[in-house]
Symmetry: D4
Subunit: 150 residues, 8 copies
């Protein structure tokens, strides 16, 4: 493969995506990363900002979530590998939804989470090809997957 498409799903409140990209670039791995929109506020409000305001919070969120889905579903379907990070905050049900979506499409899944979430994530871990604790492990897997060496 000349270039790998990898989707980075999940937590948007830490800089883990940039950490991965920095390490991957320094190793010259041929990867094209995609991700959800990572501006939290804009991600919440894109629907009403583009299509007009709503009185109901449900529809406010609904319009935004659907617009975000244009980007995220396309990215998952194009991805060779889907990496999902579960952070410490929020419910993160959309991360779990992405993992399920990717699993049904038989995409190789790599999960990142701390030990605290181990039991609660057992079904998602069971669908993954690798369960990692941090960005360093992920980059090693990508290097090994692409180059066959460490």
């Amino acid at each position: 493969m000349k270039e790998w498409n990898i989707y980075l799903s999940g937590e948007i409140h830490s800089n883990w995506r940039e950490q991965i990209k920095t390490q991957v670039n320094s190793q010259n791995l041929p990867i094209l990363f995609t991700s959800p929109a990572t501006n939290h506020e804009l991600s919440d409000d894109c629907g009403i900002k583009i299509l007009g305001s709503e009185n109901e919070k449900f529809w406010h969120d609904h319009k935004g979530a659907k617009i975000n889905a244009i980007r995220t579903r396309t990215a998952i379907e194009k991805a060779d590998i889907v990496i999902v990070r579960f952070g410490e905050k929020y419910k993160q049900w959309n991360a779990a939804f992405d993992a399920g979506f990717a699993a049904a499409l038989s995409k190789p899944l790599i999960i990142i989470h701390s030990a605290d979430h181990q039991h609660a994530l057992k079904e998602i871990d069971a669908a993954a090809l690798a369960v990692t604790k941090n960005v360093d492990e992920v980059v090693k897997i990508l290097k090994y997957t692409i180059e066959g060496k460490l």
Copy 2:
């Protein structure tokens, strides 16, 4: 359709499945329900009980989660409709995973949750064909879907 296959995913700590079944039966709707194993303790421990104990909690859970997946994935793939209930307790990432899995297979999704979870579930609600607040609404949707009347 002579009979509808409907998978009831999510919360296993209240009797919502029985409530649906009771109402559906009293209305003679031709539905075959499937569900995950709803014995929480056995669901957690089925792996080690059948295949032998593990020292690591991760593998303890891993073996169980995979055995549970035999039942749940088969049920989702056979389902005409997938209903997912998010309750008040626990992380419920497996429920969100099931919703994503079903969405990728283009299964009609019905979600049940209280108003408290509205914002956190916006992406999953956006993938659903109906977002309900309780069992009564679900049964009305099933009745209308199957019989075309209320």
Copy 3:
């Protein structure tokens, strides 16, 4: 085949479905028919009647259209043959949508329309395996398809 599943899409303001069923029954053809909900008012209002009222007509309609989709998409996906009738009234874009949906799934399509609509329906007719003028022609096709005789 022991029984054929046939979805009757489109116009809900004449009794063409009953005409087909009457003729098919009198000939003992083994067909299980499905159809959208044909109560027009209920079809429009099912969303708010089940899930609660909306101030905006768009969301009023949106909730109803999605609930109707649970029935119609399932029926199209299960169908061996999809029959779509275009009547004289209304825009009937949902009928054309159903035809496109069925075509993408490679379902055999039979279209019913009067000569008036010929030019406007040319793309849909081009995707069909039969373009008919009335119910009698449809029943003959069903009889021939199932029994190999007229």
Copy 4:
């Protein structure tokens, strides 16, 4: 993604496609647009012009519609996003057919229509990830989808 493939379906009697392209180009969005043949007369007559005349209008149209389908179906299948505009004139059943075709292939759908058509398009709107009123909203969605900002 390096480049997005977007199919512009529907109305061919206004310059909405050029408006989108102009705005998209001025923002340097990496999009490859496809569309149906937009020469209305040639689109109607391509069949007989290439393959010979027909006495019957039905076959005249049939030959043309099938040749047009070579382009349109290929474009929909290759598309990452399908945008369908419903204008003020004509039946536009082919636009609705395209929307149904795209929906069955799980393509993200963006619909453009005026308020007048809201009720008649409710089933198609319900299958879309965004319902817009004009070209400006569409371009904002494309910018946000591709760049994650507005």
Copy 5:
């Protein structure tokens, strides 16, 4: 499997289908056979008999061929095994088309032909799981496939 669906494609001018059915019935093999309409004249003329006459032979045949396709494509898609017999007469391109259609759907193919056609059918034989000379061999294969014995 409780019952096997087997489609009998190809030659309609000898009684090979009846021979297979007779042998299969005498052995109580649980098979549901499907076939194209085997009345040659009606098969040619079904289009104009049902939908009205045509001046052009091309369209006369076109209407009939499409109506026949409702039956044949459905039967191939439902079949567990597709058996195609090439006889001594006619071009039989529809038989070869059916074989290609079935091969693309990964249906197990059994071909029946005499030694005369060996070279001309080499590509089709290469896509088959069995190439037979007569009905007796076919029935033995069916018996072995279903019962695991001869």
Copy 6:
């Protein structure tokens, strides 16, 4: 689900299939089992016995292997669960092939093998939802999967 279809692949030189069936029957689990032809000699020679002898061993085996594939591929594709047992004798590459075939179709896989084969089967075990040591463990998994209890 009213009845589960389960394919029993692999070793044909011990009575493990009968052991499973006996236990399953005594527990009244609703399972329809399928399997390859388990008469080893006939399985090797079915090609030449039905279709005529061959001078080359390669073609002798080729004809037989293809006829066997009619049964085995159909059974895998129809199966809800695929169980593969690796025994002590022979290369058993066909068992590993079946496991790969089932994995590509996203079928839940249960593997049975002794500790001796653990390292050599690690890739196949990694694709399975359960790795078991004996028939008793398999039956417990089936009971738990179908009934949700042990």
Copy 7:
């Protein structure tokens, strides 16, 4: 689309492929053509020339036909459009097989044949989006499909 992949199936005893390519090149249409191996003798004998001789003509042909299938099936699966020409000589069952294979994969089909073959090719014509008499018509369709003009 930046470039169209078009497979040219069928007759290998006239220079119709070169005629199409010459015309297409002179019009600068962005098409990448693929075709079967068109050296008839080598196409027949590639199996034994590469893998060793066979005593039986059936296996001689079988080995060659399978090697040819590596090229032809890959080309059909990659193609945006499949064009099949039926000439005057030979049985050409492989051309009809290719047409069926392409049809099952929903590839747009263009058929070329003379009036003599009209009735015998009616089923294949019925599955095509264009039935042409010669190379000139094909090139016009390609120009119109790609550029939207004639």
Copy 8:
């Protein structure tokens, strides 16, 4: 096709991949080869080296096998042709698994093995489009497949 993607599965203890690449390069065939990680020790231990050690050999292997699957499954799914070599040593069940996986995805399969393994590999050979004895035959097939000549 501008470039062929070919996956080289199986034996990692001889230099057959390099032999193929050398010959292919000297003939300027446009092929992009992929392969599993061919460092045997690292392939066995990648799981624990990246994700941490395990007390149980089963989990040691399990983690490694899953990480290897990220590379191998992606490569098979992207491949136009899958070539599997069975060598003289080891069980090589992963090679057979890859062959089954590729077969279920309808990938053209080329097998390489010595005469010793003929009977044991008969099911896999029966699913292949070419069964070869050595690298030279493989390269000839690739040349013929890509260039249509020898």
